[in-house]
């Protein structure tokens, strides 16, 4: 395995495990840690997680693949998420998604060739009152329109 956690991270993991009656429950926070550190969860990363969690690799893979936010392939540095669910759709979310798709030249769950952006058409993000909305990485942008979104995308480093 080419990936490994540092000593401090390992003690953080021990602490996480102690929060739950059974250490297995720490798998989600540990997957979050791993994704933060290595950006996406390759097989090698998942094997590292399996080792520190003392769980079978198959179990770790099974959990990681259940959730959409654990990335099983490399993503762009700026992960652009456009909500097209009903509240956003009623306020132009679908058109917004089409515009962003056109601008980035990639489709759902794809990454631009230079690795700068990835695009995802997402389900409701819980920001329906600010529809239409997008998120770039962890940040929400509500009450946007096409022009605003283009500016936001251009402003990414």
């Amino acid at each position: 395995m080419t990936h490994s956690f540092s000593t401090e991270e390992l003690s953080e993991i021990t602490k996480l495990k102690s929060q739950y009656p059974d250490a297995k429950a720490a798998i989600m926070p540990v997957l979050w840690m791993a994704q933060k550190k290595w950006e996406w969860l390759s097989e090698d990363v998942l094997r590292t997680v399996a080792t520190v969690m003392e769980l079978p690799y198959a179990h770790v893979l099974g959990v990681a693949s259940f959730y959409t936010m654990y990335y099983k392939k490399p993503m762009g540095r700026h992960h652009v998420q456009v909500c097209t669910n009903v509240s956003c759709m009623l306020r132009g979310g679908a058109e917004l998604y089409a515009d962003v798709k056109g601008k980035l030249g990639v489709g759902h769950n794809q990454t631009t060739a230079d690795g700068k952006y990835s695009l995802e058409e997402v389900e409701c993000m819980g920001a329906c009152g600010g529809a239409p909305m997008i998120a770039i990485n962890e940040q929400f942008f509500e009450n946007v329109n096409s022009a605003k979104v283009m500016t936001l995308i251009d402003a990414c480093e």
Binding site: D22, K24, A26, L31, Y67, V86, L90, C124, C128
Partner: protein, 442 residues
């Protein structure tokens, strides 16, 4: 405009900060609670008429009373902050504006049920809000309001630990038994009930699952007294609710108002009406899984569970989605069906396959490629999912489809091909009319 008592989201600046919360009577309700016995607290919550805000509207005090007493097993409370039902965006505001009231609610609920550990499960997309909740919790720990320290602070031998747990993007984790599997570190498949969580929940121990808003309401009930709370809002479903209004209104947002507030009042006065003064074609009263109402039905409709039940729908999460006269109902139904298909965990056949079929048929309808018998087919697929699945995602997927067909059939008819073209006879499906398109070939 209603002068509603804002009890879950009081309009106090910087209330999310511990010192501001304390200066405004914070953690006093817990002190009041521990002067009573645990059973008295449960009784108070029963008397208050509080019903769950997570969608099913179950009486909270009754739910708490199901927890076994006199057992030495550890007991758990899981706070459901998965908030992924389209149209619902109110729990997020509690994490942001009043997290300490949620923590205080956990203490009171914990004391009442003898809980040793609380898990606050928050959807992964709420990164910043997970951090806000964690910050509030860290502050509370540091001030000795949670954990071992609370024994000294409150001079009482009850203590409880609270852990914030971050999800990772799966709507199904909002379903309570799925949430438990997710928390335990397994794939989040819903579990069969029975056994019910109160008997066998997290790690096989007695567990209660409550919505964020439900628990954040509890300190207010204890502070003002159960009778006073019960007098707010509609009989049978008392209190205030965080209505999340989205779609075609001038001022979308979250508004705390009494239960039983008129729907027209919320839309016209609180939310400033429909842009362009357009007519309303449809509204969904409580998140995308609830059957819709037609625009011509909403006059006089009160927003509480008992009133909505009479109309064949429910309050759900009180996420009101407003659609004006230009809304394409078929497209909306398709979008909802697509969501539930995407979110089905795939464990039961009627849900896994049925949500896919519904999406396909709706896609055909949306693209003018369907015949009118497809509408009946769609309706029957929905009916066959309902009641035949492990968890209520089946109903959540079926209800809006059935509801939209029942209320807007003509819109679906208008999308069908005007006349049937004769397609070659299909031997396998010999009993079908040969001109019907097969589900599998969309």
């Amino acid at each position: 405009m209603y002068t509603a008592p804002n009890i879950v989201l009081p309009q106090i600046k910087d209330l999310h900060q511990l010192k501001v919360y304390l200066a405004n009577g914070g953690y006093e309700a817990y002190k009041t609670a521990i002067r009573s016995t645990a059973d008295q607290v449960i009784d108070d919550v029963k008397k208050s008429g509080l019903r769950g805000r997570g969608g099913a509207c179950f009486p909270t005090g009754l739910k708490w009373s199901f927890m076994p007493k006199g057992t030495d097993k550890p007991k758990y409370l899981a706070i459901n902050g998965d908030e992924s039902e389209p149209g619902s965006f109110k729990d997020r505001l509690i994490f942001e504006a009043n997290p300490h009231q949620l923590i205080e609610g956990c203490l009171i609920a914990g004391y009442a049920m003898g809980i040793s550990k609380v898990f606050i499960y928050i959807r992964g997309e709420y990164h910043a809000w997970v951090d806000m909740m964690q910050k509030a919790l860290d502050d509370a720990y540091e001030a000795g309001l949670v954990g071992e320290g609370m024994k000294r602070t409150f001079n009482h031998d009850y203590s409880v630990e609270i852990v914030v747990h971050k999800g990772a993007g799966a709507y199904i984790c909002g379903e309570e038994t799925s949430l438990m599997n997710s928390l335990e570190g397994d794939r989040a498949y819903p579990r069969y009930k029975p056994p019910f969580p109160a008997n066998k929940g997290l790690w096989g121990m007695p567990t209660t699952i409550n919505n964020v808003e439900t628990i954040a309401t509890v300190p207010a009930i204890i502070a003002m007294g159960a009778e006073k709370y019960a007098a707010i809002g509609a009989p049978g479903h008392s209190g205030t609710i965080l209505y999340g209004v989205s779609g075609h209104v001038n001022k979308p947002g979250v508004y705390e108002l009494p239960t039983g507030t008129l729907l027209t009042e919320i839309i016209e006065n609180v939310c400033g009406g429909v842009p362009g003064g357009k007519k309303i074609k449809a509204i969904i009263p409580g998140g995308s899984s609830m059957p819709p109402l037609r625009g011509d039905e909403i006059e006089g409709v009160k927003m509480d569970e008992e009133s909505l039940k009479v109309l064949g729908t429910h309050i759900g999460t009180a996420g009101i989605m407003v659609m004006d006269e230009d809304t394409d109902i078929v497209a909306v139904t398709l979008r909802i069906a697509r969501f539930y298909h995407h979110e089905s965990c795939g464990q039961c056949t009627p849900c896994r396959e049925g949500t896919g079929w519904m999406e396909k048929v709706l896609h055909r309808l949306d693209h003018h490629e369907a015949t009118s018998s497809d509408i009946d087919l769609l309706y029957s697929v929905a009916s066959n999912i309902e009641g035949n699945t492990v968890c209520a995602l089946g109903e959540a997927a079926a209800w809006p489809v059935k509801g939209f067909i029942e209320k807007f059939r003509s819109e679906f008819e208008a999308r069908c091909k005007p006349s049937r073209s004769f397609v070659s006879l299909n031997v396998v499906h010999g009993r079908r009319k040969s001109s019907d398109t097969l589900i599998e070939t969309s």
